[in-house]
Symmetry: C2
Subunit: 143 residues, 2 copies
Amino acid sequence: MLSNSSKYALKAVLYLAVNSTENHKILVKTLSSRINVPKAYLSKILQELSKHNLVSSTKGPKGGFYLAEENREVRLVQIVNTIDGDNRLTSCLLSLNQCNADYPCPLHDLAGKAKSNFLKNLEETTVQDLVFDIASGKSFLPL
Amino acid sequence: MLSNSSKYALKAVLYLAVNSTENHKILVKTLSSRINVPKAYLSKILQELSKHNLVSSTKGPKGGFYLAEENREVRLVQIVNTIDGDNRLTSCLLSLNQCNADYPCPLHDLAGKAKSNFLKNLEETTVQDLVFDIASGKSFLPL
DNA sequence: CTATAAATATGACTTTGGTCATGTTTAATA
DNA sequence: TATTAAACATGACCAAAGTCATATTTATAG
């Protein structure tokens, strides 16, 4: 459903959303140990996210990664698509080219509703929304 | 969501369901060209399915693969689990160990409903059900 | 202006899923 | 009973995802 890389990306963004501000940046090293993702690999993922303006960073001493206000409006689907590409979630379950609502493959309906529901949620939900759930005790962070 | 191997397995079973009987067995070679899956790889998948009694086969001249009546009662989840293992579909979206309804990770609800819906469908649907959909024009076969 | 601390860029290594080729066993038929 | 046609079994190869190490760039602070 999601690649490992996407999961790591989501975990990282989530941690930054809760624990960082522009005045309190986080080192890759720290982030790595907090969310249990190998440092070097996490680096690569953060760079990709940074390049697409989904997270913020500054180099040099006192530098690090953080989420600016604009980053908090990012929708989860942007994160997933940036890392996994955008058709991982939309393609037919059997990977058939000609499979659509008018000419569905035998598994189309079976998966279709679940998938579109999931995708819709990813599209509608922002990072800030998740932070809100955590703050209000609806969900929990230990990553 | 599903591995390539699972997709191939589903396609193969579906083709056999529609086109084979105990008196009309299908060669791997034929199946391969009909569903566009490399012959050698398809072989391996069919062997795995056969070992678990999800498809039937006989060796030797006049041999081949087919679906016996019992095979038509197989549920899709059995096919997927046999090929992919059984936790690919059930594990947490972020692959967290401690994530459950009482202590959900921030993405739990977002994916949970979609995933459990999909899983439920795989558990409830038999091969025969899909054949029925095809026969009644609800879905289409070209694989 | 220099030293240093951090992200960034690049590329190599490893693991795993997917692909293929070869040989072995089984069963039908002549 | 010999031949042959098929599934079955095993293992090697390949490609992509995941993992890691090294070098470069940038910014801060003394």
